[in-house]
């Protein structure tokens, strides 16, 4: 019986944890409640993943109302992968967050922090699981509102400004998405995604569908921080509590990218999006300019979090470029990079969080010789940094290799060359920091007390769990590639 209810449980458990946190109020109790709920959500996402892999698509009718009338949860390989990724990253970062949040957020506000975290997780998982276009918007609002709140918990006044700026941009994005969905409803009379996908081909000639498509594209580009519309991201990542940054970097933009995929490939269909709408003419230059320019911008950042934030926008550029290939191999490359980048960027932000915890700042120029003080943290940073660059045997290599070979397959040699060029920039910005941490002698006349002062185990262990997974995914690249190609096939195959 419980196996049939997994789609609902994945959403209900984190949602249930939020009011319980508000009632419990004591920081430790809240953390335990949130962690239990999150862990159970991971388990049910895991269960669903195998159900989908073995038996095919799951369709769950909420309230017992069958699909076109009621809201349904629709889980195929693509969602199942996203659900597992999002819930797992959230769970690991939540373990890590306890010590980090204890230090940076007032303890009277902890219960709100964990409640907001759970609501955000509910929203993100809900976006991934739902098969109803309007429900996507509802969950998008749940996740965004709680995200603004989480960002504002940063103990810096600029966090409020960053949160407000994201609120404005995010609301514009969300209302564009809502307008898009509204026009689609006007043109087709359907909100269910499967229904929409069936009805759009007949309505394609209507101008409303064209308008809906444009609004959705812009709205989702804002939400997923694609290059010219990424303005909110750097400040939000820099000033929010670092555990939140790690959580958001691994999940929030990835979930928006998933919605982008869902709309372009499953609902409108690649023939409409990339054939008659020439989406790749719009998106590909933005993606390429994004990964080149922002990798370049990242080189000149002196704050580690800001550097990684710009690097995130660059990585989103790779993912969008992969989507623009609109082929099986291109989509596979994009989805693999969603998974891989989600994991390595989370680890990078977690290691920066450890540095912040012990050193108190993240200015890369004054982290001389940090390796002798915090060897494990710096090792984690280097290992995941290598992944970001794309050194063989790391996850970055798997995704970049598949991206380049997919673009070769299409005959777009230039894209492959530019990806390599921006990887060189990544070597510079990661290498610069690593050089400072490993080799540079302290310039201070009064040397700081030498000796190891490592971050607490509760922060290191979750970080190394993720590193272990990323190494596994890097060495046996076929694991993620197989999952991603099944997901890509599910997207390209359309709804059954």
């Amino acid at each position: 019986m419980i196996a049939d209810q997994l789609p609902a449980l994945t959403i209900v458990l984190p949602m249930l944890a939020a009011p319980l946190c508000v009632l419990a109020r004591r920081p430790l109790a809240c953390w335990v409640i949130a962690l239990c709920a999150n862990f159970l959500a991971v388990l049910s996402a895991w269960g669903m993943f195998w159900q989908v892999r073995d038996d095919g698509v799951i369709r769950y009718a909420l309230g017992g109302w069958a699909a076109p009338t009621g809201i349904e949860y629709y889980v195929d390989m693509m969602n199942a992968t996203m659900l597992l990724l999002v819930s797992f990253i959230s769970c690991v970062v939540l373990v890590y967050a306890y010590r980090s949040v204890n230090k940076s957020v007032q303890s009277a506000k902890h219960y709100l922090f964990y409640a907001a975290w759970m609501l955000c997780l509910t929203g993100l998982l809900g976006i991934c699981i739902t098969g109803d276009a309007f429900n996507v918007f509802v969950f998008l609002e749940i996740s965004s509102l709680s995200m603004y709140m989480l960002i504002a918990f940063g103990n810096d006044k600029r966090a409020l400004f960053a949160s407000f700026r994201y609120l404005i941009m995010g609301s514009i994005g969300a209302s564009f998405i809502l307008i898009g969905i509204g026009f689609l409803y006007a043109a087709t009379g359907a909100l269910n995604m499967v229904d929409l996908a069936q009805r759009i081909p007949d309505a394609e000639s209507q101008r409303a569908v064209l308008v809906a498509f444009s609004f959705l594209t812009i709205g989702l580009m804002i939400k997923s921080a694609v290059f010219p519309l990424h303005g909110w991201l750097a400040n939000a990542y820099q000033h929010s509590p670092v555990a939140v940054t790690a959580f958001l970097a691994g999940t929030a933009t990835k979930v928006s990218l998933y919605v982008l995929l869902r709309f372009f490939f499953s609902i409108f269909g690649p023939g409409y999006s990339f054939g008659s709408m020439f989406l790749n003419v719009v998106l590909l230059p933005a993606a390429v300019a994004g990964f080149l320019m922002l990798s370049l911008v990242a080189i000149f950042q002196t704050d580690l979090r800001r550097m990684l934030a710009y690097s995130s926008v660059a990585q989103i550029g790779y993912i969008i470029a992969a989507f623009c290939l609109a082929s099986q191999s291109g989509l596979t490359a994009g989805i693999v990079h969603i998974i891989n980048h989600g994991i390595i960027k989370t680890v990078l932000f977690m290691s920066v969080g450890c540095i912040l915890y012990r050193v108190g700042h993240t200015h890369s120029n004054s982290l001389d010789n940090l390796f002798h003080k915090m060897p494990l943290t710096v090792t984690a940073f280097i290992l995941s940094g290598l992944g970001l660059i794309g050194v063989p045997l790391t996850v970055g290599f798997v995704s970049k290799f598949s991206l380049i070979s997919a673009s070769m397959e299409r005959g777009w040699w230039m894209i492959g060359a530019l990806v390599l060029l921006s990887s060189l920039f990544a070597i510079v910005y990661i290498g610069r920091v690593v050089e400072i941490m490993l080799f540079r002698k302290s310039r201070n006349s009064t040397p700081e007390p030498v000796g190891r002062h490592e971050a607490p185990m509760m922060m290191l262990i979750p970080m190394y769990v993720l590193i272990g997974i990323s190494i596994w995914f890097g060495v046996s690249g076929s694991t993620t590639l197989a999952v991603a190609s099944e997901a890509a096939a599910a997207l390209l195959g359309g709804y059954q």
Partner: protein
């Protein structure tokens, strides 16, 4: 002086005291007719909260805070969501899908009635608490 302050709005205070029970009664009417007629938890919650807001406007924030404390509001806010989710989980325990009200009674129609009743109650409680605490937080800022 103090006596004068308190008596200054005597007419408003008396009228308010007379009106508040009717506002609350109307809120309950809207609440419990939400399943068959127009109305429901959102509207009822706002009307119910407006009784407290009126009390706050006339008698001052201090006295309203004694009537319903911020702590009570925090609990009510969470409680409403729990009632809603509890209904959903109860329907799952009875063997239906999430929020499938048909399983609540032998007759599906009665089940729908009970389900909507419980869910709207949850919505009403949360909306009331959120509206009042919004009023508190705006009114207490200078």
């Amino acid at each position: 002086m103090k006596l004068y302050e308190r008596q200054r709005h005597r007419v408003l205070q008396i009228v308010t005291k007379l009106i508040i029970p009717f506002v609350m009664l109307f809120a309950l009417y809207v609440q419990f007719h939400g399943d068959y007629g127009p109305g429901g938890g959102f509207q009822a919650g706002v009307i119910f909260a407006s009784a407290f807001i009126l009390h706050g406007l006339i008698f001052g924030l201090q006295r309203t805070r004694q009537v319903i404390t911020p702590t009570a509001l925090r609990i009510l806010m969470a409680l409403g969501v729990l009632i809603y989710l509890g209904t959903g989980i109860y329907s799952m325990l009875l063997g239906g899908n999430l929020l499938d009200y048909n399983v609540f009674a032998h007759d599906g129609k009665h089940g729908q009635h009970w389900g909507i009743f419980a869910v709207e109650l949850g919505v009403g409680v949360t909306v009331t608490a959120v509206m009042i605490s919004l009023f508190y937080s705006f009114a207490s800022k200078r």
